[in-house]
Amino acid sequence: MKKTILAVAIAAALPWSAAARAVTDIDALRAEFDQKFKALQGDYEARVKALESRVQTAEIKADNAQQDAAANASPPPVSAGAFNPEISLILQGAYLDRAGGERPITGFFPAGGHAHAERGFTLDHTELVMSANIDPYSRGLVTLAVADEEVEVEEAWFQTLRLGHGLTVKGGRFFSGIGYQNEKHPHAWDFADNNLMYSVLFGESLKQDGLQVRWLAPTELFLELGAEVAKGQFFPGSDGGADKNGADAWAGFAHVGGDVGVSHAWRAGVSYLRTSPREREAFLDDLNDFEALSLFSGTSKAWLADFVWKWSPDGNPRQRNFIFTAEYFDRDEDGDLLCEDATAAGGACTGLTDRYASDQSGGYAQAVYQFMPRWRIGTRYDRLSAGSVDFGANGAFLGSTDYDPSRWSLMTDYSPSEYSRFRLQFARDKSVQGDPDNQVILQYIMSIGPHGAHKF
């Protein structure tokens, strides 16, 4: 009852004030409605847009997935740049603490090569390697050794890929397949310097300008036979007879190898090298202690035997592994030796040419153990035998010796990754008669780029 009276009273009171107010109220309502409507409209538009973009991203994602799948299912995208060869750089340098001057190994012809006469901080040559498949049938590789004011072509060869029947032919300049260490570049050596055997045989390692044929037998046992024919201008050959047809270096090798269980692998081999040096120059200390220039022409024949044995638990070398390597050589040289007349300068030689014959041998054995990831230790023993050296009539001016050069080396290296290595090496070097030397070498080896796989 009370409510109706109140409502009537209010209704009676409304007309004069409401008439004026109704207009403004409606306007306000309309404005409010418009505002809300616009807000809603905006909101919906935004939502629709968001939905659209989501649909779009989903579409793009699906597209990408399809493209990825397509890219994966078919060969990778082709561009001209993809034909560029793999390029890698090897940086190596060292700090050496050792006796100064040249240290020719007593009783052996100096073989040249990279004689590390430097002391203190030294930058070894920097290796630049480029390789690629030439076509479906062959592959090419170049290794340049770059040093101050010189670029040396260490290797430049092509190799066949599809001859089949176990045959591979290599042509150009290549590291000979004889021995075990010969094909390894210095950055892949287990010690900071070369062993004495390869030092006296080849200086660093035997390079050949010529052709190589290898045949791998289709047997369970690894059996590889190889033959090489080459110009033979590198020691123990010489470039004295470079201007001629034919070949001055012939080499042959046979390697066998296999596994013993899952943890052991081995390889053994014999190799033969025959070169015909013409007027091979060498400086020899004569009896007056004068450096006499000698020229040798004749034949140089060397037999090499090599053996490698590797162990790793379950065949997984990543944590621990052990490598034992031993090589031996026997070299016969026979021919004529001219010792140039140096009497005017105080030398002993009188310019006589007479028969020269030598039979020398030597070898090394080394063991390297990776006892934990990154760390390895190793030891190496080198020994050469002066053997018999017959200077013929020149024996009156040139002294021969029965001194047997030897050396002990100890090394430890640390490899932060597969691509870098630091090495500390000590050596007691008795390769020079009457002048033993204690040597310390601190070395680094770094590899940049897609570095190729290393041989066994």
Binding site: A65, D68, A69, N72, A73, P75, P76, P136, R139, Q159, L161, R162, L163, G164, H165, G166, L167, T168, R214, W215, L216, A217, P218, T219, E220, L221, F222, L223, E224, H255, V256, G257, G258, D259, V262, A265, W266, R267, K310, D314, G315, N316, P317, R318, Q319, P373, R374, P416, S417, E418, Y419, I448, P450, G452, A453, H454, K455, F456
Partner: protein, 300 residues
């Protein structure tokens, strides 16, 4: 003398089926040996270059492997640079034109699946990364199915006379395999979202398939050995985002994962990773059965 005769006879008996086999297949990893055996049965003589206890990145091109590659009609490898430390030597030194890249005798599994973890930047400062993506692709069984399709096709191309038999074996395998995948996915449904730590980036496909979350790796960068400082950092990460277990493959050393697991009080789980990695992982089916068993046992 008797034992010698017995030995020779046994060798002959063992060698006889090998001589009859049409295809000589060298698999780079045990998973592909197992898959080839599923698809080819006695039509192929299959061997593997690596075992489950060997890191497939880091073996050497041993003389025995060169001798095997010499005689192979088909190489079955993961590809995507997984074998780049040794496979190129098998290609170059074996004198075998059939197995060269681009020839039907060279099969790369990575070409037939979608690779994950493609690096955006190629820089060795990132460790041993693979430009094409993560090559450890077989721990997602759906990838194995894709590879099986392509491999069956390849086998019948190389040995067309037996194409029908390869096709039949392939159909049979795919049927058993898809049934197994359905079973495994059902078994492992509880593993979805479980956080794990892995030794190397070699569990990512498994994680992808099962919905595991890999919160970190023991290796500071792919291919680098775990360091004390990195493990300590990882332990801190685990305090904020706890993981349920630390995974490693059978070929990876247990030390780092056990150190972290004991500090974080979670189980360290050794997974077979590939066929032969555990007693249970006798074939591809056993590999996944055993892997799931081990995960489920360690899961909460």
């Amino acid at each position: 003398m008797k034992s010698l005769i017995a030995f020779v006879l046994t060798a002959l008996v063992l060698a006889a089926p090998a001589a009859r086999a049409a295809l000589n297949v060298l698999a780079c990893e045990p998973e592909w040996m197992a898959l080839t055996q599923e698809l080819a049965g006695d039509l192929a003589e299959v061997s593997t270059a690596t075992t489950a206890l060997q890191d497939p990145h880091r073996i050497q091109a041993r003389p025995s492997l060169l001798a095997k590659a010499r005689r192979a009609d088909l190489l079955v490898c993961s590809g995507a640079e997984l074998e780049s430390g040794w496979l190129p030597l098998l290609h170059r030194e074996a004198g075998n034109g059939r197995i060269q890249p681009g020839q039907p005798g060279y099969f790369e599994a990575a070409r037939f699946v979608r690779l994950i973890d493609r690096p955006a930047v190629l820089d060795r400062a990132m460790g041993d990364i693979h430009a094409a993506g993560n090559p450890h692709l077989h721990l997602d069984p759906r990838n194995v199915a894709r590879v099986a399709d392509a491999l069956a096709k390849r086998l019948s191309e190389l040995d067309a006379a037996n194409a029908a038999r390869y096709a039949a074996r392939h159909a049979d395998f795919q049927q058993r395999w898809s049934a197994a995948i359905a079973r495994w996915e059902q078994q492992a449904s509880g593993l979805r979202g479980v956080a794990v730590v892995a030794h190397h980036k070699n569990m990512n496909y498994l994680a992808d398939w099962l919905g595991l979350t890999v919160v970190g790796e023991l290796e500071p960068k792919p291919g680098m050995e775990p360091t004390a400082s990195h493990l300590a950092g990882l332990l801190e990460v685990l305090k904020a985002t706890p993981a349920w277990m630390v995974l490693r493959a059978a070929y990876e050393p247990p030390k780092a994962s056990e150190w972290l697991a004991s500090r974080a009080s979670i189980p360290a789980v050794e997974l077979p990773y590939t066929v032969g990695g555990s007693a249970g992982a006798k074939d591809l089916f056993g590999l996944f059965d055993d892997t799931l068993n081990r995960l489920l046992q360690a899961a909460p």
